[in-house]
């Protein structure tokens, strides 16, 4: 019942905002209250999680398609991401505090987005998973298309085309999986897919998930969508939506098609490695600060793919760590860049110089974020990336040098951004810039805290993930089902 409430609460909040939030103040207070309540509920749900996938709610089970797909489950694989979603939704609400243009619709859509994402992470049923996966996109298109920057329509249309094509593949993949296994519930699969069906189902599903991740050749929607999205949209997009891709691979694609997953590992590794290097190089070349952060997302999500491709328990744990860490870091980075751009009305790196003197608190946070992003030990980026490189070395030997190059390049582009934006001669133009406000500090605080905790004590996530991952890894390494 808690899980159902976890999915329903944001939607109820969205409806309340839509009904009562005629003016600015009530709309943002109601949505903040809903986001906080959701976070508390997520805490409760995770605290009494049993650790196994047991659908907590299902209606009238029957044969194939013989039920309405409403079964939810929470386990170690979904718990970190559920927590991340709940946290980032609060941050996103605070980040969009100042939205004056149709605040009611903005906050309602943000809450609806949170609810749909929760549903993706909690779905224990393939059909529900697919429906929620699709439902996530609709509020996101609107957030980008209505509250974005100058080129928002362009970006939203591109985002739409990529994900819509991906979802057509996903639908067929899901149906093929259902017809092949004879079940829609993920945990209880009566029949094993034949190898050829596995290959097909895996690649059909991966087509949708790699677009979302985003992996190398299909990442081109991401920089534009990020750059044009409003701050709250960027936070949710980078922090949560990208994780749906990695989560989908771990939760659905790998366990359903373990043999195909093992077979595809080198390709996934190659895509991931290219992503890390390419993303980092592209980030180095950017002149727009938000675009730089966007390309760094491509690089980080490349690590997720590299870690996943190893197919080991450590690799899966590393992938989860990188995802959670990236959610926190990218959320904070987009939050900072967004709040800076709101004040300076430019995101051009060349124009933003010497901010260290004029906005010290902002600069401190930005330096902190960059350090976390480049993987400084004791911050959240470090353990995940280290683990994924080590695992990749075991699995792919010298090929993993590419991933190491990605780590080094991450240091380069992050430090370049810090040097360009924070250091240097203070500029007259930014002398009277307002520093980070108390509200913004409050919003950033949990993310900073999370980054430090995860850096010092990664076990908080890996311990949760371990039992859930074990069964999947067994399947993948066994190669059959």
């Amino acid at each position: 019942m808690t899980l159902l409430a976890l999915v329903a609460l944001p939607f109820v909040g969205a409806i309340l905002v839509a009904l009562l939030g005629e003016r600015l103040a009530p709309s943002r207070f109601i949505s903040l209250a809903a986001a906080l309540a959701e976070a508390a509920l997520a805490g409760v749900a995770i605290a009494d999680m049993s650790g196994r996938i047991v659908p907590s709610l299902s209606w009238a089970p029957g044969g194939i398609l013989g039920m309405v797909p409403l079964s939810l489950a929470l386990d170690g694989l979904s718990a970190p991401l559920v927590a991340l979603t709940a946290l980032l939704a609060v941050v996103a609400t605070l980040a969009s505090w100042g939205i004056a243009d149709r605040p009611r619709a903005h906050h309602a859509l943000l809450l609806a987005l949170e609810g749909a994402v929760m549903c993706v992470f909690l779905a224990a049923d393939l059909v529900l998973f697919y429906v929620a996966w699709e439902a996530v996109l609709i509020p996101m298109y609107f957030l980008i298309g209505l509250w974005g920057h100058e080129n928002r329509k362009h970006a939203a249309t591109k985002f739409f085309l990529f994900t819509f094509v991906g979802s057509a593949f996903m639908l067929i993949g899901v149906l093929a999986a259902i017809s092949g296994t004879g079940a829609t519930v993920l945990s209880d699969v009566p029949r094993v897919l034949t190898p050829s069906t596995q290959r097909l189902v895996f690649w059909l599903m991966a087509a949708g998930m790699l677009v979302k991740l985003p992996a190398f050749p299909v990442h081109t929607w991401l920089p534009e969508a990020h750059v044009e999205a409003p701050t709250a949209g960027s936070i949710m997009l980078a922090g949560v939506l990208l994780k749906m891709g990695g989560y989908g691979l771990m939760r659905v694609a790998a366990p359903l098609c373990p043999a195909a997953f093992a077979e595809a590992a080198p390709i996934l590794f190659a895509l991931g490695a290219i992503g890390t290097v390419y993303g980092a190089l592209a980030a180095l070349a950017q002149t727009d600060l938000k675009r730089l952060v966007a390309y760094s997302s491509v690089a980080h999500m490349g690590f997720v793919l590299v870690a996943l491709a190893t197919g080991t328990a450590m690799g899966f744990a590393a992938a989860m760590l990188v995802m959670v860490s990236h959610g926190l870091v990218a959320g904070l980075a987009f939050f900072l860049v967004g709040s800076l751009a709101d004040r300076t009305h430019t995101r051009h790196i060349a124009e933003l110089r010497g901010l260290g003197g004029s906005v010290p608190r902002w600069s401190t946070l930005f330096v902190f974020t960059s350090l976390a992003s480049l993987g400084l030990p004791a911050l959240s980026g470090f353990p995940g990336e280290l683990m994924s490189v080590l695992e990749a070395f075991k699995a792919f030997e010298w090929w993993s040098v590419a991933a190491v190059a990605g780590v080094l390049l991450a240091a380069t582009y992050n430090l370049r951004a810090v040097r360009a934006v924070v250091y240097g001669e203070p500029v007259e133009r930014w002398a009277s810039l307002a520093d980070v406000s108390v509200r913004e500090m409050l919003a950033a605080a949990p993310l900073v805290l999370g980054i430090v905790v995860l850096g010092v004590w990664p076990g908080v996530v890996t311990a949760m993930t371990e039992p859930a991952v074990a069964t999947i890894v067994q399947l993948v390494q066994g190669g059959v089902r």
Binding site: W59, V68, L70, R102, A105, A135, I138, F142, G145, L146, K153, I172, A176, S179, G180, T194, S196, T197, R199, L200, V201
Partner: protein, 164 residues
């Protein structure tokens, strides 16, 4: 040929002819008509399989909603430039091969899963109303509300576009 198989043949012919037309034709309004035939064929297929509610929902939502919106888009967007509107495509063997390959793979893999069931005969839909008015109504209504919200928001976007 029985009435049953005649219905199936009609549905399949509509779907295939419509899809081929929508993919290959150049004139944009004819593409839309072909797409309409395809969507209608899908509805006919549903009806043939005994899913009459789904068939009508298909006509309602796709033919009456999506297709009209597409034709709308074509009519308001394309007339301005004065030239005869055409959808440009780059017909290369590569994309045809990829598409055909994916389709063939799909068929070969799913054939085993599908088993040797031939196309099932249409069944009665008499239990439908009670089933739909039962507990499933909730999920169903939620989806409907979702669609309505999306359509309202569409109107908002379009209005925003006009003001610019």
């Amino acid at each position: 040929m029985t009435a049953q198989s005649a219905g199936l043949a009609l549905a399949i012919a509509l779907m295939l002819a419509g899809a081929i037309g929508a993919v290959l034709l150049k004139e944009v309004m004819r593409v839309m008509i072909a797409l309409g035939a395809f969507l209608f064929g899908v509805a006919a297929m549903y009806a043939y399989l005994g899913y009459s509610f789904l068939a009508i929902a298909q006509v309602f939502v796709y033919v009456g909603g999506v297709l009209v919106l597409m034709v709308f888009a074509v009519m308001t967007a394309r007339r301005a430039d004065g030239e005869r509107p055409a959808i440009v495509s780059r017909h290369d063997v590569g994309s045809a091969a990829v598409a055909a390959g994916v389709g063939a793979m799909l068929f070969l893999s799913l054939r085993t899963a599908f088993g040797d069931t031939s196309v099932p005969v249409s069944r009665s839909a008499s239990d439908l109303a009670s089933e739909l008015l039962g507990p499933r109504l909730v999920a169903f209504e939620a989806a409907g509300v979702f669609l309505l919200a999306a359509l309202v928001a569409v109107a908002v976007i379009l209005k925003g576009g006009e003001e610019r």
